[in-house]
């Protein structure tokens, strides 16, 4: 493999890995803030137990999200320096602002929340988790604005003298139409993911609970969580639908690649499942929903959807005349079809399966029921993974579907890599990071399981107040 391929593998591995922890952080911080605020309002101890229990799981997850996030910021410069030079004037600003607005907020107020149980008034303590959550939303907004610019570059001009994209309209970058629909899509998916995690854990405990008191703790967590999954899933579907139409407009090849549609069709069918090589050569077996692709792409059941072969010609005409051979070379503009085809279906399929299971759980736990069958166990174990992996496949789809471009229509991935990057350096980095990430995954999962098993423990008795300054810390590492 040449350095470009290795750098691409590193970006894929580190980014997909990092984004396993991000949606849980976004979703879970909202749920925990909700628990703590409910406890403040009702003074019902069950909510405090849930706050503390999920708070611990949150921290185990958050820590690994933070440290893997540092790699993300550094590797643009390390592996993709030509990309950084080309886009820095536009892409750097949201990244820097993300740090200033979001990272400081998240890290500072999380530190206060973790260690502040006995130092802060109750309302202020709850406000800390609310601020952490707001920090995660800021973070999502700015990083998605940067990504949306790669999907659909706006608010800039190419300067042939400096050979780079230069920003001339920051508002256009922040309110890019791709961004306006991507942000709700990603954040709602994160709510779905965080809530699915809560439902899985709480349902597992509900099934094992031996006392009515324990059931009374976990039941509200299961029910509220499942409702969040369902409502968020609806929002994810609606925003995803709008996103599909915008994508068809700004990156028609990505929609064609999502279906493996080689010839332009009207109406175009959507295949739920397909056997074959997906290279457009052979007849394949497939299960099709008539007109569905037309609907996804255009909003009408018989709208025309352009196929890969036509788009290839069209892209050649549009991008064949290169403004400077340094940024892209006329070539094949088709992404890897089997990857886009399957990741698109896995994204939707896993997401829908998650929503269906949440709906079933709501039904099974209706009116005070606490079912204990094996189906409940299976649902509890499966649910957290469904929206989580749907997120991963969504990103794999949208990033691979943009290929060969790094910045759509402006710069290819091939031309983005650091010119001085040697194969040895790239390999060292890829293997070191992958090995460390692998070990950490094992450690993290085992730790999570240990702490999940402990459950929402009963609150310890109050420490006598006359202990004063010498009483032990409410929380200590």
């Amino acid at each position: 493999m040449d350095p470009t391929d290795i750098a691409r593998w590193q970006f894929a591995i580190t980014t997909v890995y990092h984004f396993l922890f991000v949606p849980i952080t976004i979703g879970l911080s909202a749920v925990i803030a909700g628990y703590e605020l409910t406890w403040l309002r009702t003074r019902d101890e069950r909510w405090l137990r849930l706050t503390k229990f999920f708070g611990k799981l949150f921290l185990i997850n958050f820590a690994i999200g933070v440290v893997t996030g540092i790699v993300q910021e550094f590797q643009f410069g390390m592996n993709w320096s030509d990309y950084s030079r080309f886009v820095g004037d536009v892409f750097g600003a949201p990244l820097a602002i993300e740090g200033l607005l979001a990272f400081f907020l998240e890290s500072t107020f999380l530190g206060l929340w973790i260690f502040g149980w006995d130092r802060l008034p109750a309302r202020l303590h709850a406000a800390c988790m609310v601020l952490v959550h707001i920090g995660t939303l800021f973070s999502a907004y700015f990083i998605l604005a940067a990504n949306s610019w790669m999907q659909h570059p706006v608010g800039f001009a190419f300067n042939p003298e400096t050979g780079r994209a230069e920003m001339n309209d920051f508002a256009a970058v922040l309110f890019n139409k791709v961004q306006l629909v991507t942000f709700p899509h990603v954040v709602l998916s994160a709510y779905m993911t965080g809530a699915a995690f809560v439902v899985g854990v709480a349902l597992w405990h509900l099934r094992r609970a031996r006392t009515a008191e324990d059931r009374a703790v976990y039941r509200p967590a299961v029910r509220t969580g499942a409702w969040i999954v369902l409502v968020a899933a609806l929002g994810v579907a609606v925003s995803g639908d709008v996103q599909g139409k915008i994508m068809t407009e700004v990156q028609p090849m990505k929609m064609a690649a999502a279906e493996g549609l080689y010839e332009t069709e009207a109406p175009a069918d959507f295949s739920v499942f397909q056997l074959g090589t997906l290279d457009g050569e052979k007849e394949t077996f497939s299960i099709k929903v008539p007109g569905m692709l037309s609907f996804l792409a255009t909003g009408t059941p018989n709208g025309e959807v352009e196929g890969i072969n036509d788009l290839r010609e069209k892209y050649r005409d549009t991008y064949g005349a290169d403004p400077g051979a340094a940024y892209y070379s006329p070539g094949d503009y088709t992404p890897v079809i089997p990857l886009t085809y399957w990741s698109f279906r896995l994204m939707m399929g896993l997401g829908m399966a998650g929503a269906a299971i949440a709906a079933w759980i709501l039904w099974a736990t209706r009116r005070g029921r606490a079912p204990t069958g094996r189906a409940v166990l299976a649902a509890a174990v499966a649910l957290p993974f469904l929206p989580l992996f749907a997120n991963s496949f969504g990103w794999i789809f949208t990033e691979l579907g943009r290929q060969p471009w790094a910045v759509f229509g402006l710069m290819t991935t091939e031309h983005s890599v650091s010119p001085g990057l040697s194969t040895g350096e790239a390999w060292t980095s890829l293997t070191a990071l992958t090995a460390v990430y692998g070990v950490l995954a094992v450690v993290e999962v085992r730790l999570l399981l240990t702490w999940i098993r402990k459950g929402a423990e009963e609150l310890p008795p109050d420490v006598p107040t006359d202990a004063g300054e010498d009483r032990p810390l409410a929380f200590a590492y």
């Binding site: 185990i60 958050f62 820590a63 690994i64 440290v67 893997t68 996030g69 540092i70 910021e73 550094f74 643009f76 410069g77 390390m78 592996n79 320096s81 950084s84 886009v87 820095g88 004037d89 536009v90 750097g92 600003a93 820097a96 602002i97 740090g99 200033l100 990272f103 400081f104 890290s107 500072t108 530190g111 206060l112 973790i114 260690f115 502040g116 149980w117 006995d118 130092r119 780079r164 920003m167 001339n168 920051f170 650091s418 001085g420 990071l433 460390v436 950490l440 450690v443 730790l447 423990e457 310890p460 109050d462 420490v463 010498d470 009483r471 032990p472 810390l473 929380f475 200590a476 590492y477």
Partner: protein
């Protein structure tokens, strides 16, 4: 003042924030086996930085992001050029950050020892390598006419850069010792103070040698002034430690680090990465900069939000101002538990 100069100053400020703050939590990490004789003492040390180390590290992330936005060429050349040192720093920061959070999550000692090692090594590696990296930026590295780094890994290992690395290492150890002296109580506090006095001595020798070498190499009037005052405050820190004035002593190393970094940036200006090649091109605040439009947007954001960040980060230190002693540490089995339901 030109916006490129403003951003050069702001990036210097971000690095000053990073080194003055994370400097002491690196120091605390490295001193873990020296000052923490048993698990409880080590937990005392870790808990002094527990609520703040992550916020301290964000200064690095913002410095990186700001360099990307304000000086894209600098970001690109620096990060791709200093590849292996940065990879080592990344790996160190990964294991170190997790160690703080995960160490207390299981009671058995073998588990804790492993994470202790992660904290120690994870604090040592960046403390040394940041100095090496900054010294190389000041000394100049091979950068060709296309503004690309043209050297290899071994260009970065030279006596001047190694001296720079040892200087940051010693500074952070001393800074950490004084922080422990300031933030703990009991035996460990005295141990930290006793260690700080000779630590200041060693640091002073290294720092004076490194800063004088820098001054002789690329210094300006401004950098010379900053270096002299930095040396004076370092001596002040030593005197403060000996007199048992921990607050003043810690303030001393705080100012020393801040002024030393400020001096390095003053010595660098107006270059941001000078070249050592005769036919190469140095990166400067002008040829590495983003457009005036982007810099303006960034300036407005920085003016609006930096004071806010400073206010709430400062407030955190106020909330956790109390000294910690061994009797404040809840028993190991109750680690990560809460003892008060309020």
């Amino acid at each position: 003042m030109e916006l490129t100069t403003v951003w050069f100053i702001l990036i210097a400020v971000l690095w000053i924030g990073y080194f003055t703050l994370e400097g002491f939590d690196f120091g605390v990490g490295m001193l873990l086996p020296v000052l923490g004789r048993d698990d409880t003492e080590r937990r005392v040390m870790i808990n002094t930085i527990g609520p703040v180390w992550d916020g301290n590290e964000v200064w690095l992330l913002v410095a990186g992001g700001a360099t990307f936005a304000a000086f894209p060429e600098w970001y690109a050349t620096l990060f791709s050029g200093f590849y292996l040192p940065l990879l080592l720093i990344l790996l160190a920061l990964i294991v170190r950050g997790l160690a703080f959070e995960y160490r207390a999550k299981r009671p058995d000692l073998r588990w804790k020892r492993r994470w202790d090692l992660a904290i120690i090594v994870g604090s040592f590696v960046p403390s040394l390598l940041w100095g090496v990296a900054f010294a190389n930026i000041l000394r100049g590295v091979p950068i060709d006419a296309d503004l690309e780094y043209a050297g290899g890994f071994f260009n970065l290992l030279n006596p001047y850069a190694l001296l720079g690395g040892l200087t940051t290492l010693a500074l952070f150890v001393t800074h950490g010792a004084l922080f422990i002296a300031l933030k703990t109580d009991g035996e460990i506090r005295h141990r930290a103070r006793r260690l700080a006095v000779p630590a200041v001595g060693v640091t002073a020798v290294l720092a004076v040698a490194f800063l004088a070498w820098t001054q002789q190499q690329t210094g300006s009037v401004g950098s010379g002034f900053a270096f002299v005052v930095a040396a004076v405050t370092l001596v002040g820190a030593g005197l403060g430690a000996r007199a048992g004035r921990e607050g003043w002593a810690f303030l001393g190393t705080f100012v020393t680090i801040g002024l030393a970094v400020a001096g390095l940036f003053l010595a660098l200006f107006p270059d941001v990465m000078p070249t050592t090649l005769a036919d190469g091109t140095s990166l400067t605040t002008t040829n590495a900069a983003a457009t005036a439009y982007t810099l303006k947007i960034m300036t407005v954001t920085a003016v609006l939000f930096t004071p806010l960040v400073l206010a709430y980060q400062g407030w955190t230190y106020w909330v956790f101002r109390k000294r910690i002693a061994t009797h404040h540490i809840p028993p190991a089995s109750a680690a990560a538990e809460t003892t008060s339901a309020r």
